[in-house]
């Protein structure tokens, strides 16, 4: 294992200390509870938006804490969900009296721990609502699985819903928009390499020089199928077409197109992916209303990408464009 770390045991804590040292004007890090909280939390009368999950997906979620996005993030150990105490501490810290909204990715561990935290918060009189993102078309949503995994849509949802919450909307309005964003977004990812969890010290899986995994999640796990490496143009077809079909996107519709790097892929390659995606969408007469290109929901140093398409309406666009000031996303301010 070759990593820029001091010790595998202290990775999460030391990264949080680094964030705290660099962004004091945006965030506060509570190391004891292992949470990242917006510097001016709690904001009176505003719905507090809380997310979290295993670490290793940076900048998600801690990098999205700040004005116009998340009020708090609860990072667990690498690829392991946070525990209810942590989540409860975050909910208390951001409760400005208008309730707290939880953004949860659909993994059994995350769902159960957030659910327990919600029960504890409710017992203290905090009003709670939540959304569970489940946008990964690589997993079948059926009676035979725990449901689709939450991936790329989570980033877009945190921005859009965070923008709405910043405008002073009610918990009910925030929950309604979150539900709509989740329903209108789908993703699919692929890997060129595996990644190494520091505590384990070796790659989670091995991939040959000429192989790739299609349909990966964000925890370094293998995907749906292993196939021969192909040109970017073909890879993007493999990712984009299932998304377009699953969403039922039609000619004339508008999308937010999100090309995401898995952590080890340079921006120059992501823009090639973006080029191919634009070509496919143009061929189907689908308009790219907004876009995001970069590594925002990652799997440590995994090389690869994911594509997310979100069918947008005017309200989503308004809050996507709204000002945001966080360590990882900043515009309009």
């Amino acid at each position: 294992m070759k990593k820029l770390i001091n010790s595998p045991e202290t990775v999460v804590k030391e990264a949080l200390e680094g964030m705290a040292a660099m962004h004091p004007e945006l965030i506060r890090v509570d190391l004891e509870n292992q949470i990242v909280v917006r510097a001016d939390a709690p904001v009176r009368g505003k719905v507090g938006v809380v997310s979290g999950g295993g670490s290793g997906h940076e900048p998600m979620h801690g990098g999205f804490v700040g004005r116009g996005m998340l009020d708090a993030a609860c990072p667990g150990a690498i690829f392991t969900s946070p525990v209810p105490d942590q989540i409860l501490a975050a909910m208390r810290a951001v409760n400005g009296g208008a309730g707290v909204f939880q953004i949860i990715k659909n993994y059994t561990g995350d769902v159960l721990n957030f659910e327990m935290a919600a029960e504890l918060a409710q017992a203290e009189g905090i009003e709670v609502a939540s959304v569970i993102t489940n946008d990964d078309v690589a997993v079948e949503d059926s009676l035979y699985t725990a449901g689709r995994r939450g991936v790329g849509v989570t980033v877009l949802l945190e921005k859009i819903v965070g923008g709405l919450a910043e405008s002073g909307a009610s918990l009910e309005q925030v929950a309604a928009l979150a539900k709509r964003v989740n329903e209108q977004g789908r993703s699919m990812g692929m890997a060129l390499t595996s990644c190494t969890v520091p505590a384990k010290g070796s790659p989670t899986f091995e991939l040959g020089e000429d192989e790739m995994e299609i349909g990966i999640g964000i925890h370094g796990e293998p995907g749906r199928r292993r196939v021969k490496l192909a040109p970017a143009a073909d890879i993007v077809e493999m990712l984009a077409n299932p998304i377009i079909e699953d969403l039922g996107l039609k000619a004339g519709e508008r999308v937010l197109a999100f090309v995401n790097g898995m952590g080890g892929t340079p921006l120059i390659e992501l823009y090639i992916v973006a080029r191919e995606l634009a070509r496919i969408l143009k061929g189907r007469n689908i308009t790219i209303a907004r876009s995001l290109v970069g590594s925002y929901i990652t799997s440590l140093e995994m090389a690869g990408c994911s594509i997310t398409l979100l069918r947008v309406d005017d309200e989503m666009l308004r809050y996507w464009d709204a000002p945001v000031l966080t360590p990882a996303l900043r515009w309009g301010i």
Partner: protein, 209 residues
Amino acid sequence: MPITTEDVLRWITQTAQVFHEQRDYLTQLDAPIGDADHGVNMDRGFRAVLDKLPSLSGMDIGSILKTVGTTLVSTVGGASGPLYGTAFLRAGMVTAGKHELDEADVIEMLQAALDGIKARGKAHTGEKTMVDALEPALAAARKAQEQHEGLAVLLRRAAEAAEEGMKATIPMQATKGRASYLGERSIGHQDPGATSSWLLLKTLAEVAD
């Protein structure tokens, strides 16, 4: 012979030892169908429980079990933390104030624990989870109670049924938790959570013997 407060404390202590010894085994079971952390999770949780042990002496059984539950919830993480945590919390609720458990109390405790896991995880038998070890264990315990075989036998029967239930998860296809993403590829592997449930009951039976 009823189960005493001391028995419960011994059960917790020995369980912590068992999970520490079986840590790699449980983690290996979790590798092909999960994310290779179940042994690590259980060991971390029960080590935290051990740290709390000194503060538990003199407490009633319900308070001990509730402390175990809250400790597991706040240290295990993953899916098994909330599931086992809820199980111990519910078990602690039905044994509140008690310093001894007879057969009926033990069955009520096991039922409450199982109900808690099912309420939280929404799993039924046959989905390749800890429920597949615990549900038959409870049924066997009830049968032993009807036959008036005594508490030690009752717990031994429960542990044996849990072991069978655990082995029965091997040919199952997982439809809950992380393993369900694998579809048919989950067939042929023993469920780690069913295995840790068996270990818990086996240790309880040994303490009561």
